[in-house]
């Protein structure tokens, strides 16, 4: 099978390319980069006027399978991924049961293969059942395909256990990913602590709840030498802590989400849970710090924290409604909306180069011989209509907004899995 991505502006920072180039993919791998390549009998993706990049990887996604398939399935989540311009996702382990055994991880990978859309890289649980009391079997999980470990959604309270986890897993390449919120400081918060929460009579989580766990985890990373990734950073102080740790040689990376870049904690006057998320949307001081940190290089990765839920679940009272919302299908536009000054080269670093490096997975460049995973997108405004999402989760605070950028075509392993607004599962590959 041969695929030719023709006439697009190729942005490939690792190769230093920002020019109109054709990309030829044969048998799943990049075979040639050049001008006016011969199409022959290749499947052609016309990318004239569009931008072509190494496949985007969203390293923070909740696919909900197994156990919560009314919210999302591996098939629906990866359909949302490719429609949103992603060729791969890392899926978080807070499923039911959690991704804490090789058998479950293998089954997730089998179902991802069967879906035939985006690549799926499982993130294994950090502790058994994410309960924070016993280590998950890291070597078994890594053998089964896990690329990182996390108790995302919460954090182990026990610093000794976390330190031992980092020591025990020190020689595995899999990064630890932290969800940083102190459960005591957070309490029953449904939003950020600030003037809005005080006025509305709602429990708020202070930024401090995040900062103290970021500090703890950075110190454990420094102590153990384990590579660490701080998920969904939301505060100026956390960013300062990360800069401090990095200056001391700690192996730390971090990500920010589209919603924390775009929105403030002023979205709760109707007491609906549409914008309820952990960590919560913050105030303008923190949001401006996040935007600046993406531009100045402190932030390594843009990740959505795609967290689909049923409409009825999100329609509950604020205290009862689950946290999070879908992100895969608005991501590219949302990033461009929040960060209009971000260069395309940096954009590709944040979405492809750095996630591939941090997770230790192939990709991040379309150099000859690399996997034929390509994201084609353009700066064309469109209006979000969540009802049209491929994701089962139809809830997003971006619903109804006009976003300036969108995915046009997505190619995984040389197969065109999204084009002209349609998701196109790969045909069954026979061995």
């Amino acid at each position: 099978m041969t695929t030719l991505v023709r006439g697009g502006r190729l942005i490939d920072p690792l190769q230093g390319i920002d020019a109109v180039r054709d990309v030829l993919i044969e048998n799943g791998f990049v075979a040639a980069i050049g001008e006016h390549l011969d199409a022959n009998d290749a499947r052609v993706v016309e990318a004239g006027g569009a931008i072509v990049a190494p496949g985007f990887i969203d390293m923070h996604v909740h696919l909900r399978e197994p156990g919560q398939t009314h919210k999302e399935t591996i098939a629906s989540g990866t359909a949302a991924a490719v429609a949103g311009g992603f060729t791969a996702v890392a899926c978080m382990p807070n499923t039911e049961p959690a991704l804490d055994s090789a058998a479950i991880v293998s089954e997730v990978m089998r179902r991802a293969d069967a879906a035939g859309l985006a690549r799926v890289y499982p993130v294994g649980a950090l502790t058994r059942a994410r309960a924070g009391t016993e280590l998950a079997p890291y070597h078994l999980l890594a053998d089964a395909g896990c690329v990182a470990f996390s108790d995302d959604g919460s954090t182990p309270r026990d610093a000794r256990l976390l330190r031992n986890a980092a020591r025990y897993a020190a020689d595995l390449p899999c990064v630890f990913i932290s969800h940083c919120e102190d459960p005591d400081l957070k309490g029953d918060a449904v939003m950020n602590e600030g003037e809005a929460s005080m006025r509305l009579g709602l429990d708020g989580a202070p930024g401090l709840a995040e900062d103290v766990i970021v500090a703890r985890d950075l110190l454990i990373a420094a102590d153990t030498g384990k590579a660490w990734h701080i998920a969904h950073v939301t505060t100026a102080t956390s960013l300062d802590l990360i800069r401090w740790a990095r200056a001391r040689g700690v192996r730390v990376t971090c990500e920010v989400t589209p919603h924390h870049l775009a929105f403030l904690d002023d979205r709760f006057d109707d007491y609906r849970a549409d914008a309820k998320v952990n960590p919560p949307l913050r105030g303008s001081h923190d949001r401006e710090a996040l935007r600046a940190a993406v531009l100045d290089g402190t932030v390594d990765v843009l990740a959505t924290d795609h967290a689909p839920h049923g409409a009825d679940e999100k329609a509950q009272l604020l205290s009862a409604a689950p946290v999070g919302f879908t992100g895969l299908e608005i991501a590219l536009g949302a990033y461009a909306l929040a960060l209009p000054e971000l260069t395309l080269g940096r954009f590709v670093e944040l979405l492809a180069v750095n996630p591939a490096r941090i997770l230790g997975v192939p990709g991040g460049t379309l150099a000859v011989g690399m996997p034929g995973d390509v994201s084609v997108f353009a700066d064309r405004p469109w209006t979000v209509d969540a009802r049209l999402f491929r994701s089962k989760g139809k809830n997003t605070p971006f619903d109804g907004l006009v976003l300036p950028r969108r995915a046009l075509a997505t190619i995984v392993d040389g197969a065109v899995v999204f084009e002209h607004g349609r998701v196109l599962p790969r045909e069954e590959v026979t061995a």
């Binding site: 005080m198 329609a315 009272l317 604020l318 205290s319």
Partner: protein
């Protein structure tokens, strides 16, 4: 057009607020015929226990001739997983046109009002708002001072957990009252200082300079996680007692939304003090609630 609701004081324009108080005063002087809401089904939906507010609303509803249904939904359909929208649809379908609702959670009244085609009156939602309490407090203040503008009022105690404080801040600011909040930093975070409200920690420094002091109940069930060291420690600085009554002006007024904890935020001396207006407050409450029902269902002419 959706029916009007009263979720917080600022659902009323300043002119409407004054009109409601005027109407309440008129009702207090001469009870109206019992037909202002003749045949209108009014549901009292109290998810949270209430003595004075539930009784006051019920009496107000009966005095305007409404068909009163009272219901304390311990394990209602909402507890069985029915959505707010479905409950609202059902209640309207049954024929309910006004819901007076109290709920433990902030925002419940708003969520119900957004789904219900009739009128919703918020009788207290979590720590957020209690607009009819604020209206009766304003009515009691005006009764005494015949004005709002320039009055100095201190609200003292557990501001953080007080829907009464929040609604009074909104209502008093709208009426031009000079509001000072007094309490310890854990129960009065600095974020309350937004919008022209003063924050003071020293009750004794504030007392001599106010026209009215509103003492809030310490909500013991919410005092967790180190919000207070102890009640003794709190009362040393924030209790209104015999000694502090001496520094309160002779013509000043003491308000309390009730229920009070004798010996905590105030002592028996306060309740016996002639400046205490607790009885006037609860008395006015019935007329304010009649006026609110009348405004929402029938509209009230507002002078241009």
């Amino acid at each position: 057009m959706p029916a009007r609701s009263l979720l917080d004081v600022d659902d009323l324009s300043p002119a409407e607020l004054v009109a409601v108080l005027d109407r309440a005063v008129a009702f207090r002087e001469v009870l109206p015929p019992r037909d202002l809401l003749a045949g209108v089904p009014v549901l009292n939906l109290f998810f949270e226990a209430s003595t004075r507010t539930a009784t006051s609303f019920t009496l107000a509803e009966q005095r305007v001739g409404a068909d009163v249904i009272s219901f304390a939904p311990g394990a209602s359909s909402l507890g069985k997983g029915e959505t707010i929208a479905d409950t609202a649809l059902t209640l309207y379908g049954i024929g309910v046109r006004v819901i007076v609702v109290r709920h433990q959670q902030s925002g419940f009244a708003r969520r119900l009002a957004d789904a219900f085609e009739g009128h919703v009156i918020n009788a207290g939602d979590g720590t957020h708002a209690h607009p009819t309490q604020a209206l009766l407090d304003l009515m009691t203040l005006r009764q005494e001072f015949n004005r709002f503008d320039g009055l100095r009022v201190a609200i003292v105690g557990d501001i953080l957990h007080s829907r009464v404080a929040r609604s009074n801040i909104v209502g008093m600011r709208a009426m031009g009252i000079d509001v000072t909040l007094v309490g310890p930093p854990t129960l009065l975070p600095r974020e309350f200082g937004a919008g022209g409200v003063r924050i003071e920690r020293d009750f004794d420094a504030v007392l001599p300079h106010v026209d009215a002091v509103m003492m809030l109940r310490i909500q013991r069930e919410r005092i967790t996680g180190g919000l207070l060291a102890s009640l003794d420690d709190y009362t040393l600085r924030y209790q209104l007692n015999r000694a502090r009554l001496r520094s309160l002006g002779g013509s000043a007024m003491i308000l309390h939304p009730g229920p009070y904890n004798r010996g905590v935020e105030l002592t028996d001396d306060v309740l016996d003090d002639p400046r205490s207006r607790y009885v006037a407050q609860v008395h006015n409450g019935v007329f304010v609630r009649m006026a609110v029902l009348d405004l929402l269902v029938n509209g009230v002419p507002v002078a241009a």
